[in-house]
Symmetry: C2
Subunit: 260 residues, 2 copies
């Protein structure tokens, strides 16, 4: 970043990864160690260790835009503000909210230094546990809340099926739209082979991790909660069965159409 | 992982991130410190510091499946083998090759312990530098080599445009298919608004990093090389212009259709 900034105040948009410290990048750790202020949804703020001089602004509401606005005001006042998200802040998380606040803010907001620190996102942690389901072209769709009309989700699900992408669902069971995952499964069952591998990966990397794998026709979408990342295979995604009581792997070959 | 493994040999499929150590997870660092053997494409192997007792097996060819096969043989012989990739090994990288080797291998291969360690992928690093272009539903497509027919790429590009996804291209200029990015741009220009924001993000995080942003109609795809990650916006993706000589941000709002 070149150009002239307002003052030493700045915003660090930090991805905490899916949970355990083993997935927190050194860059994110460093950002948390220099911040004067910490802003985020309560459970994420709680994951950052206490430190003298670190002002914590946890919120329990869902109004990301207010948090982003707050961060901008603090940065303009010269504070070093870490805005924390789980996973990667750029993927269905706080980074977009921060830039949305800038877009709708004043001229001064556009001079604030903002650095986004990428992180491991939930779909990557889930994929790593399962094998390599994201080994070929894929898409990521959020089923969350009321930020987009259902028609847009339906259009994207249909396109994802037509393109034969592997599909990752984020936020499959938001409070504002608890039936979204059921509608999504119903639509995909009408468009894709019932034998398509599906995985429900809950709280990957955390003590309450739970992995469920099965076929699209059989897996029960009501087993999803807000901590679940859902993966739906392409026509190429397959299981590798294993002996000795070992769980099967799920992977999508790098080749398409059986050419090898 | 429960169940019975063959011996203490194992495979660690490690993502080195997009380049700098600041994006290497502690889990990946730990894996590299316990490995007895290191397998990967030369430039990735070179990024791992020398250490006594660490056997390096760099390859300069493109035959990922041979590397994966080699890793399985070493693991079955009791070695602790780190298979290294740039970025996230689960995203267009070595993890799928390893499981492909297992699928086509013998029964013993299926008993080898294989742990995949996720990493920050190129599209995430690029997005972080640019603002928040992946803030809403997106897809990732590899334009690489001869692993899939061009018809599949065309079908997926068309679906991605119909679904109005943000699109990330990996491997836009492979040796086997140097014209792929030109054909992809031509197709997308016929399907999407010419004013759609586009970014070419080259070698993000490395000394030779270069970011180019512009409109779909204007950006020159011949500026892509094998180190370039290409991002194509959705209809909602936009620039935020900034004063004082600061580079514009690119972001995709969390909302769709202007509702706010």
């Amino acid at each position: 970043m070149t150009g002239q900034h307002l003052n030493d105040g700045r915003i660090l948009v930090v991805g905490l990864g899916p949970g355990p410290a083993q997935w927190l990048t050194p860059e994110a750790s460093d950002a948390l160690s220099i911040a004067t202020d910490l802003i985020g949804y309560g459970p994420y703020v709680d994951r950052v260790p206490e430190r003298e001089g670190l002002q914590r602004h946890a919120s329990d509401n869902r109004v990301e835009i207010d948090r982003a606005r707050h961060a901008l005001e603090l940065a303009k006042a010269g504070r070093v503000v870490a805005v924390v998200s789980g996973g990667d802040p750029g993927v269905f998380a706080m980074a977009a909210a921060v830039f949305e606040a800038v877009e709708h803010g004043d001229e001064l907001d556009r001079t604030v230094r903002i650095d986004v620190m990428p992180g491991v996102s939930a779909m990557q942690a889930a994929a790593a546990r399962l094998g390599a389901p994201l080994g070929h072209d894929f898409c990521a769709i959020s089923l969350s809340d009321n930020l987009k009309p259902w028609e847009v989700i339906e259009r994207r699900l249909t396109a994802a099926a037509q393109g034969d992408f592997v599909i990752a669902f984020y936020n499959p069971a938001s409070r504002a739209r608890p039936d979204a995952i059921h509608r999504a499964f119903a639509l995909l069952r009408s468009l894709k082979d019932g034998a398509t591998p599906v995985a429900l990966a809950r709280a990957v990397g955390r003590p309450d991790e739970r992995l469920i794998v099965g076929d699209l026709a059989e897996v029960d979408p009501s087993l999803c909660d807000m901590s679940t990342l859902v993966l739906i295979g392409s026509s190429e995604t397959r299981f590798i069965e294993r002996p000795n009581g070992l769980a099967p792997w799920v992977y999508t070959p790098r080749h398409y159409g059986g050419g090898r």
